[in-house]
Amino acid sequence: MNLFDIRNLSIELVGKNENTLAVDRVSLSMKEGEVRGLVGESGSGKSLLAQAIIGVLDDKWKVSADRFHWRGKELLHLPVEERKAIITKDVAMIFQEPMSCLDPTTTIGEQLEEAIDNSLLTGNFWQRRKQRKEAAIKLLHKVGIKQHTKCNKSYPHQLTEAMCQRVMIAMALARQPILLIADEPTASMESTNQGQIFRLLASLNQLKNMSILLISHDLGSITHWTNTITVMYSGQFVEAGTTSQIFTQPYHPYTRALLDSSLKANSQVPTKSRLMALPGSIPILQHLPIGCRLGPRCPRAQQACVSAPKVKNYHGHQVSCHFNLKDSYR
């Protein structure tokens, strides 16, 4: 059964005269126990999509979708309170930059205890305090922090970035979510720490059957950890499929370019040779091209690209391009 299923989700930025379409009809669905990667460069709307799923976007943004199902329930039609109740119970999110997301004025221990809900504690009210403390320590152990007393007493600035990220994960795990959304969990981290965080997430996925939506800007760095991957560009859906489909036979020119530019992925290129790179840069929200937004940068663009392409499905490998690369693999 699908955990959640989103069809044609659009997110608009409400303006004075006209609305800007920041995310343009993106579909995303996840099964239980799946690790899905969501890949896109900065400004591709991937964080916006994640925020729309947990419903923290404010009035400036207008979210509309053909279908927004969470375990068979249509979320957009529910009243806000009910929706919030479902989301807080089942979904948790790790935000970018753990240092700035933790409260600098309170200790880690207090913040962790705050994240533990009363419904998770079983004892009478005089036992709760102790139970809460124990639960917080247990959470720290779960994410691989052994010195719990030292960690609980310290403030966020006293810990390293990787430690803060672990604390954030511990907080997210407090309510035992079914879906964990990790928004660039390893940005600006050293490779050894990156590996540790990813291994932790992978073990949670296997032991708890927790689904993970892994958001990243670098296709090369997450392929090892994901089952399926969705690629976005500038708010539009590009390609989705299993990791090996995307990695070995990308159908969209953009995915192809991402893979070619990733130095980890193709280590057989001669050193100091010119790398494949798309010309230009990512369009800004005020000046979006019409039709396929990759158009002006795309090596395969033709006249038809001024109208947005429809999503084509080849055995679960979805691609949104008029001139996709499917035939070039024969």
């Binding site: 490779s191 800007h217 392929t223 010119r274």
Partner: protein, 261 residues
Amino acid sequence: MSALLEVSELSKTYTVRNHWFQRKAIVALEPVSFTLDAKKTLAIVGEMGSGKSTLAKLLVGAEKPTSGKIKLNGQGLATGNFKQRCQHVRMIFQDSSTTLNPSLTIGQLLDEPLKLNTALNELERSQLISATLLKVGLLAEHMYFYPHMFSGGQKQRIALARAIILSPQIVILDEALASLDPSLRSQMINLLLDLQQQMGLAFVLISHDLGIVRHFSDNVLVLCKGQIVESGDTNTVLKNPKHKYTRKLIMNQQLQIAGKL
């Protein structure tokens, strides 16, 4: 033939006041020696706290070395002599947006090193600025723009323009490619390689991404806790790592994908 840059027994020790009268010495960099030729790239890899950035600061002259000598073209570089050093050794930082002054236009930003280091008049300076902007793939009109009007990749290009405007011999890239998006990163790598060919630049690349190191550099130094544990030709070191620490670094990054497919 003497090398472009010769570093011998360079080290750095910080002293921290531990107690009232006790002083504690923290060794950030043990004595290191290496050489760098023109048109070559030296990569420095290592984990956090391995002394990579300390080495960069020493080379560029932002810190005073505890011991050792840096020689450029056989001439010794003195620590306080910025006039000599700024012309030849330039640096690009990781986060380019914070290194650009938001209240100055790009033209004014690029004008500053010229005013301080050259005897050019105003017309010559503005001509040189527009030529440099063209060289890094921007337009001459961008002179009149402010830093906030640029995207991240363009800001990194401006930082590069500021580095090469004095036609230096060595450019130090301190994680300069880490925070860029993949497609912009390959554009930037192409640009750097082109400039290396055209201007005969030597790069000192500080990075933790071994993919970039493999593609970009000729020689590599592996630093661990301030010590050089391995050095040599990039390909030989990465293909055939001798030291345990180097092997660990490579394991962490590159075999991830190889294991999957």
